[in-house]
Structure formats: structure tokens, C-alpha cells
Symmetry: C2
Subunit: 476 residues, 2 copies
Amino acid sequence: MADLDTLYAHIEEHAADYVEKLREVVAIPSVSSDATLRPKVHEMGLWLQAELERLGAETKLHYPGTHVMDGEELELPPIVLGTYGTDESKKTVLVYGHYDVQPASLSDGWTSDPFTLTELDNGRMVGRGSTDDKGPVLGWLWVVEAHQQLGIDLPVNLKFCFEGMEENGSEGLDEMIVAEADGYFANVDAVCISDNYWLGTSKPCITFGLRGVSAFALTVTGPGWDLHSGVYGGTLHEPMTDLIHLMGTLVKPNGEILIPGIMDNVADLTEEEEALYDVLDFDVSELEAAAGAQTLIHDDKKQTIMHRWRYPSLSLHGIEGAFSGQGVKTVIPAKVMGKFSIRTVPNQTPDEIAEKVKAHLEAEFEKLGSKNTMHVEALHGGKCWVGDLNHPNFKAGTRATEKVYGVTPDFTREGGSIPVTLTFQDALGKSVLLLPMGRADDGAHSINEKLDKSNYLNGIKLLATYLHELAAETDL
Amino acid sequence: MADLDTLYAHIEEHAADYVEKLREVVAIPSVSSDATLRPKVHEMGLWLQAELERLGAETKLHYPGTHVMDGEELELPPIVLGTYGTDESKKTVLVYGHYDVQPASLSDGWTSDPFTLTELDNGRMVGRGSTDDKGPVLGWLWVVEAHQQLGIDLPVNLKFCFEGMEENGSEGLDEMIVAEADGYFANVDAVCISDNYWLGTSKPCITFGLRGVSAFALTVTGPGWDLHSGVYGGTLHEPMTDLIHLMGTLVKPNGEILIPGIMDNVADLTEEEEALYDVLDFDVSELEAAAGAQTLIHDDKKQTIMHRWRYPSLSLHGIEGAFSGQGVKTVIPAKVMGKFSIRTVPNQTPDEIAEKVKAHLEAEFEKLGSKNTMHVEALHGGKCWVGDLNHPNFKAGTRATEKVYGVTPDFTREGGSIPVTLTFQDALGKSVLLLPMGRADDGAHSINEKLDKSNYLNGIKLLATYLHELAAETDL
Ligand SMILES: [Zn+2]
Ligand SMILES: [Zn+2]
Ligand SMILES: [Zn+2]
Ligand SMILES: [Zn+2]
């Protein structure tokens, strides 16, 4: 294996350059959900292409077409593809990241302009996209650059896949991956994504699991149009009353899901899994701080984490078609749609969940004795994902973390989903490793998003080391 | 009493003039809830002032000031006040109406331009404001004009009060009435409002009761900000879950209100009252047609009408702060506000209702065992109103109806509120009669609003006859 210490020293020496480049890209407000900023998303994509070309990668822009947003037809930003190295004796690693960001404005409460990278005394670099996901995306570039500058051979071939619509539904991405599975991505041996976060603020982690999500729309329809509650109140079955009763049969205030059979396929807790929770760098007070409230259901850390990662949860998101403005409007809404979703875990499947939800709601609606009509629609079902910690890809990530940070990483899951993880795994049939750069308190989608400078630099070292460790794996 | 037949014949002869004038005012789109049309509301107020002046009334414009709508500060339209006759030997009748209208546009589904009065073969005059409330307001003017043209002495003094904000909260009206109770309105003996509708389509009615309304906002607060359901789902008490459970404890799908003690003060049904329901011109199929659904709770006419008029009802209007858009957003809303209101009846009071609602919700929230916080706010409480059918004002309205239509009117209530009714009664201490001109199917706030030409003409006769009958009352 190459001299990693030389590599690490080089990275530390070039810290100022890396920060300048991050400043440059944070200044491009590539907000994918803002139609007026769509040109900036394109600009950011081209910036990345140019950098990849400068580093000697062969690049290709995949334009997925157009989509309609806020009534406007917009050109989707390009998926930036790159190939660096085609040495058949080397393994090929596909790295994914996204160059679009969440919206941000000073008026949301930022303490500095969100699109001006602002370095604080405590080492924080504040700016939209710093940690999600421009910092990690740039990290991959500096790994290549550092090897070139030091004359160290990069021990793997790289495939890059950087998209510009991650914060806005990743439109066109899945189709492209599936279409290129045997094409552009044919020789990929392993996948690595750096787009999530440590569990806490001091200990790095390797992420091996994500919950799935099954979303539903529950519609109750009655009158032909909205009615005045003065004129009709008391005379007819009101859709809102039915809907509220139905939504109340889904979940208890303590989080218990009331749908019969919903827990049937939840994987049993093994001793091996249970042991992972004990060592985690996590305190419930951090979760409370991040949520801005002391309203946790469970008192202890282990139960809290397990209900975030390995048990399903059901959230009621809202109601479409009812009055949602300020004040009060004495309306009887004619048609109301309750929106809720279930975070799913192994070994639940979207089909199974949808069936149980429908059966339950139909039975409950029957009990109401209402003359209204009810309809349940499964909106989308993303499967849960669990990676194999014993796979060489994870072993490489683990050893890389140990080398850079000197500790065994936490082995974590996430409560949310990163759909592309499963797409890569299913389409390419390869292991996908989630290898985060930032910390739990980076505030990815919040105000004052930041990336600690130490996480940035150690993150670059981590990505580099991971590639060397992976190259050294004989079982891949 | 003057020769009513001469008066009736004159009114029939001048039908074309009255229709032309209605066409003229329908063409002024005085939509009070549309900022861009506010100048048209002012124009309509000045049109009325000019007509009153032409008829010899002394007029006065009361400008209530400004209000903010859609972020714009707008001048409120004038309340047009008029005095016609100051003969101390005559009684003084105050008539109220409104000259603003609901929004309307062809794209809503109108079969003709809403601001062009369109006469159909079946006698319908279609146009926004035709029945609500420009037709009735003009009716009062033609009563005065007809007397002048015929040289018949108007048997009462009149006070006019026409507002331009009825469809948008009647801002400034109550304050003015209270302030002028012992001033401009000091000598008023009785009040008449023509701004509601027959119960059905063939039999006239006198309206003597209105339900009140008590509106509430039920707030549940948890996290400091909206959270991602993937990250937090299962770990903390979600405000939406609590709120949905609480809203579910308010009312059953069959309309039964579940708040303890809520029915305690509902007036007993007397034989005298019960007899009124038997003769009503009403069929549940009309209500079904108007609601666009066959979802009535009660099968028979009497129960349906009683639950519309004389029993309270509770409607759940919606939720503020939750996701209300299309599709799904996997959010855990941090603070959600359920909006609901109770239509109240004699002898319920807003204070009593508010107390019972709060006590109930506090008890139910306690049962949830949630760490979130709950707050119940009584938004506004309009009292219910019941007039005395034996009062000379009502007797005069009844006899007038019998003379014009040849039938005893239905004695009806309304499920909704007309707040100014109670303001006049309380501020002036005088009887208020609701004497409708139009029919149940006029579609006041809907597309293709219409006034039947026969209702317009008979309505003018009715208002005229009412004034004569009232003048003949010795007990007033
Ligand atoms: Zn991201
Ligand atoms: Zn993100
Ligand atoms: Zn009206
Ligand atoms: Zn109206």
C-alpha cells in the first residue's frame, strides 16, 4: 500500500486550496427546487465537468429531459458522468454525489449569507451545500488531484456519477442507472456514497442500513362541492369527521402502529445487532437538541435508536382539501385526503404494507357507518435497505476509518431513505457503502449548514484511504 | 290602508325598468374580497347614494377606514346611510342590505358572463348579486319610487343602511351600528333585512331564527421546527398524532357531539315549535341536490331540518401547519392547529360552549400521555338568535306575505348566522325581521346565481306591503 502518511500530509498542506474551492462552489446557488435558480444548477454541473476534465477524467453529460415545476417546463440539470482510469487490472469504484442544494436565504435565520462560505473560529465552515453534498463531492476530486500531485498511482479506476436533482426527487436518475447498468457502469465492482452523517459529533461511522418508506393518500369524499357548515352542519356525513376518525386508527400517541399484522415481518433483534447499539456515540440529548424539544417517547438511548432505525414508524403528514389557512373558514370540505407514511424495516415489503393498510382502513371505515366513500391509494413504496457489514466494501470502509480516525467506527443505520442506494445495489448487483464525511449537527437541510474543516480534511483522507483499502481486498 | 292593488299593478307595469336597473348594478363587479375590484365596490356604493338622493332621501357615507388584504392596505367601501321621511307621527323602519358580491368568473362554470344580467325563458335572471343582495336592496328603492310615482304617502319613515363588505367580514359595520344606536338610528322602531332565502322554491317564508357559531383553534406543539419523518419518526411524540386523536374525540361520524354537557342547555322541543316543521315547503331531495350528494344522516325531513336549525352541530374544517399540498411530503409538522366550529342554538352561550370545549380537550389530552403541549383558543363566538313570531314586526311580515302570495308563509330558521341581525337587535333593542325575496335554489354564492323575475316583482310588493302592515300595527 502507498505511503498514506505522505498523502495525509499533502492534504493538510493543501487545506487552504480545498477551502477556496469549496467557497467557489458554495457561491453557486444550485437550488434545484427553485425555478429561478435552475440556471445555477446547470452552471454547477458544468463546473464539476470542467474540474473532472482538468483532472484527466473522461466526462459525459446525461440530460434526462424536462419536467414541470410551479407550472413551468424546466430543463433538468445534467447528470455528470466521469471515468478516471480504465486499467483492467484494477477494481472500479463508482462514487455518487449530488451538486444541488436545499433552498436558503438570510431571512430564514442564517447568521451569514448562506451562499458565502464563512469560516468561524471553531473551525466550522458555514454555507449552503458545505456538507450536503458539495464538500463530499469535492472530496473525491481532491483525492484524485493529491495522487497526481504526489505521483502516487491511484489504486482503483473511478466512475463518477454526480446528479443535480437529489433535493428535488432525483428525476431521471433511476432510469439512467438502470439503462447504463450494463453500459457505462458495466465494470463497477463496488459503490460508495458520501452523503450522510455521523450519528453524533465526535465518532465517525459506517452506515449499513436505511428504512424504507410507504406513503399513502386516504381519501374520503362526500358532498359534490364544499359546503357551508351553517347550512349543512348536522344534516350530512362530513368527510373530515370520517377522515379524522380513520387517521386516528392508524397510530397511537406513543408511536405504536395500530394496523393489524404490521409487525409480523419485522426482523427479530439478534444479539449481534444488539451489541452494536451499546457502543454508539449517541446521547438522547443530542436528538432532543436537534429536534428542538424534549418530547422523546423513550427514555433510553437504545430504545430511541432502535425506533429510529430498526422498527417501523407511522407519521401523519397532513390533509389535502381541508381548510389550511390562518383563522377559520366555516367550511365542510367535500373531499379530503389524509397523507401518511410508514417507515419500513427488514423484512417488511411495500406490497405487504400496502395490503395491510388497505385492509385495516376498509374495516375501520365500515365501522363508521358513513354514507361517504373512502379510497386508499399507495403513493410510493421505497424498500428498506441493509448492507452486509462483512462484505469487503464495508471492511475497506471500516479499516479506512480506523486508519484516519484511530477508532472503530459506529455501525449505524438511518431512519430515512436514500433511494439511490437501493437502485445501485439492485441495478448493478454490487455492494453500496455509505461513508459519511460530516457530523450529526451539520444541519444539512437547516439554517447555518456547516462542515467542520477537520471533517473536510479528514474526510478527504478517508475517501483516499478507502480506495487503497478496497484495492487491497482480495475477496471483492 | 292605501290601495295595494294599485301599487301592485304599478310594480308589474314597471317590471322592465326594475330589470334594467338590476342589469345596471349587476354590471358593476363589486366583489369585496378582490383587491383589484375594490374601486368597483366604491362605485357601487356611490351608485346607491345617488339613487337615494334622486328619490329624495338624505344620505351620508360612513367610511370605516382601511384594512389590509393580500398584503395591501385598502380603503373600506362606505356604509351608505339614508333617511327618507322624518314624520314624528310615523313609525321608523330601518332596512339593511349589502351591495358587495361574491367573486365570480366564467371559468368557474357560469353559463353566461356573471356580470351581465341574462334573462332566461323560464323567468330566471342570472347574474352575480341578482339575489344576494342587489335585487332586494333595489327592491327597497322601487318601493319608495312607486309610492312617489303614484302619489301614495309612504306610511313609515325609512332609514337605509347598505354596506359593501358583507361578503368579506362586514368590517367596521358593528362599530358603526353601536356608535349610532342613539344617534342616526335613535328613532328606529323596527328593523327589516332582506338577505336570505325561502326554504324551498315555491312557498315564501318568514325567518325567525339563526344558529350561532363558536369557532376554535386547537394547537398541539412539539418539536422546535418541522422534522423529517425518516430521521425522527418513532422517536418522539408527533403533534399531528395527538391532534388527530383529539379532533376525533369531538364528534362522531353520525354528527353526535361528544363534548360532555354540550346538550345541557339546548331548548326543549315544544309542541308549538314541532308543529311548524310539519307544514314546511321542504323535501330532503332538495337538500341532497344542493349538496350534490346523498349522504344525509337522517332519513326524514323533520329530523334533517331540526338538525339544521335547532340542534348544535360540530364541523372539523381543517388543519393549519400540516402538509396540505398535493402528493406527499414526509414531514413531521412541529406545530399544528386544528380548526373546528360548533353551530349553537338556544339556550347555549359562547362562554358556556368555550368552557366545555376546553375542559373536554384538556381531559382528553391528559389521557394521551403525550409530552407535547396543547392549547385551545376560542376564536370567535357569535350568539344564536331567535325572534318572537308574535311580535308586531313579524305579524306585519306574515300578513304582507299572505297578501302578496296568498299563503301563510313557512316560519323558518337558518343553520348559519347573519351576525348583523343580532347586532341590530342588541344595539337598538328592536325587533329584527328577516324577510327574504329569493328562493332556496338561487345559488347565492355559487355559479349561475339567479333571481326569478316573479320573486323580484313579488318581492318589491312584499316589502311595500310589509311597510303598510307595520304602519297599521298599534302595538309596536
Ligand atoms: Zn444530500
Ligand atoms: Zn440533502
Ligand atoms: Zn347576502
Ligand atoms: Zn352572500
